[in-house]
Subunit: 191 residues, 2 copies
C-alpha cells in the first residue's frame, strides 16, 4: 500500500520502468489532493461567525469531500492492482493454441477490469467538481484559490482517467462482451 | 519533510484546517507526478529496437524530466515553508504602532517570498509540458496516455500555481517594492 509508504517511494516507482504504478494511480492521487483541498476550505469555514448561515451545509460538504477522498485513496491502489493483473496476463505463455487462447481471453477480461478503475475516477472527479463549485459559492472566501486548485486537479485528472478508459477499451477486440457493454453503458451515462 | 513521510500523512494534513500544506504544495506534487510519468515513458523507450534512432535524445530527455522531478519535490516543501512564514507573520502582535508597522512589513515581504514558489512551479510546469510534447512525438507509443496525463497534470497544476502568484501579489499594498518588481518581471517573461 503506497499510502503507508513514504511519498518519495511512490514518486520514484512512478518514474521507473516498472509496470505499476502508472498514470491511473497518479490521476487518483491528484483527485485525492483535490478532495483534500476542498475539505480544507470547508473546514476553515466551520465555526466562523461570518459564515453562520451555511454551517449545516458546510458540515455536510466536508463529509462528502472526505468520503470522496477516502475513495480516491483506495483507487490509487486499485488501479495499481488492476493494471498489475493486466500486465501479468500479457506475460502468460503462448506456445500452443490453447495457451494463446487462454492468454487472449485473460487479456480481454483484464482490459475491462483495468478500465473500471479510471472510469470510477472520471465519475467521482465529476462529483468532486460539483462539491468544489458549491464550496466556492458559500465557503471561506480568503482561501478560494485552494478550492479552485482542487477543482482544477479533479478536472484534469478526470480527463486523463477518461483517456485511459478509452485506450483500454480500444485495445480489446471488436467482439464485444457483456462486460464491455457494462463499461460502455457507464461511459454513456457520463454525457 | 513530507517526502519522507507516508503519503497518507500528507493527504490528511492537506485536508486539515492547519495553515500548511495548502494548494501550492499540491500543485508541486502534481507536477512531480507529471515529471515522473514523463520519465517512465522515456525509460520504457530506452533499449527498444524500434526506437533505436532516438535513444540519445531520449536519454537526454530522461535526465531533464528527472531533474525537473527533483526540483518539484523540493518545491512541495519550499511552498510549505514559505507559506508557514507568511502565516506566522499574520500572527505577529499589533498592540502598538511600532508592532503594527513591523507586522505589516513582515507580511508584505512574506507575500513576495510566498509568491516566488508558485511562480517557479508555473515556469517549470511550462518546461515539463515541452518535454512531454517531445516525448509524445518520439517515445514509446504504447504508453502515450501516460505522458499525456503527465502534461495534463503539469498544465492544470501550473495554472493553479499561477492563481496563487496573482492572489499573493494582489494581497500586497499598492506600494510596489523592488521585490515586487522582481516578481512582476518574471511574471511578464512568461508571456
Amino acid at each position: 500500500m503506497y499510502l503507508d509508504q513514504p511519498l518519495q517511494v511512490y514518486l520514484d516507482d512512478l518514474a521507473s520502468a516498472k509496470p505499476t504504478p502508472g498514470g491511473g494511480s497518479a490521476t487518483a492521487l491528484s483527485c485525492a489532493m483535490g478532495a483534500a483541498l476542498a475539505s480544507m476550505v470547508a473546514r476553515l469555514t466551520l465555526g466562523k461567525a461570518e459564515y453562520a448561515g451555511v454551517q449545516q451545509e458546510i458540515e455536510s460538504l466536508v463529509q462528502q469531500t472526505e468520503s470522496l477522498r477516502e475513495r480516491f485513496q483506495q483507487l490509487i491502489q486499485e488501479d495499481i492492482d488492476a493494471y498489475g493483473r493486466l500486465s501479468t496476463s500479457f506475460k502468460m505463455p503462448r506456445d500452443s493454441d490453447a495457451e494463446r487462447a487462454a492468454r487472449a481471453s485473460a487479456i480481454q477480461a483484464q482490459l475491462v477490469e483495468a478500465s473500471l478503475v479510471p472510469l470510477e475516477i472520471v465519475e467521482r472527479a465529476a462529483e468532486l467538481m460539483q462539491l468544489c463549485q458549491r464550496i466556492s459559492e458559500i465557503g471561506n472566501v480568503n482561501i478560494l484559490s485552494d478550492v479552485g486548485i482542487g477543482a482544477m486537479l479533479a478536472s484534469s485528472a478526470g480527463t486523463g482517467a477518461g483517456w485511459l478508459v478509452r485506450i483500454n477499451l480500444r485495445a480489446r477486440t471488436r467482439n464485444g462482451s457483456g462486460d464491455q457493454s457494462r463499461v460502455t453503458r457507464r461511459c454513456q451515462s457520463l454525457h
